[in-house]
């Protein structure tokens, strides 16, 4: 079994950037967003004020600031920011934005952008977590909590790991952690379906 099989999205999906202005690149990311373009943002700061993560001081740039930075073409600084990786996708900002901008989808878009380009900030757990999760679903069609926990453990270090292990052990004792990952039945069809969307290359 070739464990190193390339299962992440291939570089061919990334646009030939640099020629298009950054604002335009970002616009192209917002496939699913039905909100207004970020050019309509009035910088009122409602998004930052309602964001439970930003208002706790955990984001290096607030959502409002990220939008200002994108519009001014601060590409490198935006991509290096932890803002979108620390976004919990709670849609609070989207609901409240007076200009109808779908900020939560913008955050998703930025995550995908940095995953494709592998340009995210050092030391973030979000990207590893997401990729592990995706690979797992691609293999089994289901997610498996202990695998996620392991990714977490390896990334976080010892003190956190002990705490996590305590939680995991208590859950295990209560019969709340599965011992074996589940699999869907029509797995072959499922994998073909996935390959239809993304050419994954050789599978293990």
């Amino acid at each position: 079994m070739n464990a190193t099989a390339e299962t992440s999205v291939t570089a061919t999906t990334a646009p030939p950037e640099d020629r298009i202005p950054f604002v335009e690149e970002i616009k192209n990311l917002l496939y699913a967003s039905k909100g207004n373009p970020i050019s309509t943002c009035i910088q009122c700061g409602t998004c930052s004020a309602t964001c439970p993560v930003a208002s706790g001081g955990f984001m290096d740039n607030s959502p409002r600031r990220i939008i200002a930075m994108i519009r001014s073409g601060f590409k490198e600084q935006v991509l290096k920011s932890n803002t979108f990786w620390y976004c919990a996708s709670c849609y609070q900002c989207t609901v409240r934005c007076p200009r109808g901008i779908d900020i939560a989808e913008l955050m998703y878009g930025l995550k995908r952008f940095t995953v494709w380009r592998t340009e995210h900030q050092e030391g973030l757990i979000g990207p590893t977590f997401s990729e592990t999760f995706v690979k797992m679903i691609m293999r089994t069609g289901r997610s498996y909590e202990p695998v996620l926990a392991t990714t977490y453990l390896f990334t976080y270090g010892l003190p956190e790991m002990i705490l996590e292990a305590q939680t995991a052990t208590s859950l295990m004792l209560k019969g709340r952690l599965p011992l074996l990952p589940a699999r869907i039945k029509r797995l072959e069809n499922f994998k073909r379906m996935i390959r239809h969307i993304i050419p994954i290359g050789d599978k293990e």
Binding site: S8, A32, F58, F129, I197
Partner: protein, 298 residues
């Protein structure tokens, strides 16, 4: 008897098994049939949307297509699953090219999604499809005097467009009243519990969980009710870590709304999965359960 295709989602298989058990017990008692969707796949949670949106839509569409094949609406007990499948359906409905592309992929599994089956959250089924009066009529053990903080969380409301529904929902409070308990008002009932940040940014997550729990406890809630396995795990299983991190003394049980409804319908706690929690539920409900069955059903 109303029938739905039931999409348990990965966490209900083990982590949130008590949600699964209590969902099945209570729906049966209320005359609803949940038929588990055959060979369902993970909806991709939020992680998938971080990596590839099209693929995320495809995963959700496969589940929708299988429900449609059975001519049933899909019911999800997990707010994350619900939101993902709801959004997928919306996008496919409004984007014919996208729908075509995804249906080509679905054809690999002999499936097709035309958009007729819709998606419901389990709590919506209770609140709207069954209705508060019908629930009230079946209550044999009203949870009198139990102060319950309804925790909506975020994803459950976001898909809806009408402002009042998103900003001032009342259905969870009404459901709690319908089973004879007392809904507690508190500020953060709609705030996010931090979701997957519990894994990706522990510090931020614990502080969000702390704010929420303290807010509920300050309003004298004896118990918190949730409608999502991730909300439940975040609020319950990390209380110890919150206490260690912030020197707090939190110890508040967090249950699924189906467990409370089940108790009020007279279903024994064991069959609702009560006993598998890390913060014991029984001390908070014993008194209510042992109360004399005064004049029920009036």
């Amino acid at each position: 008897m109303k029938k739905y295709a039931y999409f348990p989602g990965c966490s209900l298989e083990k982590m949130a098994h008590s949600y699964h058990m209590s969902a099945l017990e209570t729906t049966r008692a209320l005359g609803i049939e949940l038929k588990e969707l055959e060979d369902w796949n993970c909806c991709g949670a939020t992680a998938y949307f971080h990596v590839d949106e099209l693929l995320a839509f495809t995963l959700c569409a496969r589940n929708l297509a299988m429900a449609e094949k059975e001519k049933l609406d899909l019911v999800a007990p997990c707010s994350g699953c619900y939101k993902n499948m709801f959004f997928t359906r919306e996008h496919l409905k409004h984007d014919a090219d996208l729908a075509e592309h995804i249906n080509e992929a679905l054809a690999e599994d002999n499936l097709h999604y035309a958009g007729t089956s819709s998606v419901r959250h389990l709590i919506e089924v209770f609140a709207h499809d069954v209705g508060f009066d019908a629930i009230k009529a079946k209550v044999t053990k009203p949870l009198k005097g139990l102060r319950v903080a309804p925790y909506y969380g975020c994803q459950i409301l976001r898909p809806r467009k009408a402002k009042e529904d998103v900003e001032q929902p009342r259905f969870f409070e009404d459901l709690i009243s319908a089973i004879g308990a007392e809904p507690v008002d508190y500020l953060l009932r709609l705030s996010c519990c931090s979701g997957a940040l519990i894994i990706t940014n522990r510090r931020a997550a614990l502080s969000m969980v702390r704010n929420l729990l303290e807010c509920a406890v300050r309003s004298k809630a004896a118990i918190i009710a949730t409608a999502c396995p991730l909300c439940q795990v975040n609020l319950e299983c990390y209380q110890k870590q919150v206490n260690r991190e912030f020197g707090t003394d939190l110890n508040v049980p967090v249950v699924y709304f189906t467990q409370l409804v089940g108790l009020a319908l007279g279903i024994p706690p064991k069959r609702l999965g009560i006993g598998s929690e890390l913060v014991a539920v029984m001390p908070a409900i014993r008194e209510v359960l042992e109360a004399e069955p005064a004049v029920a059903n009036t």
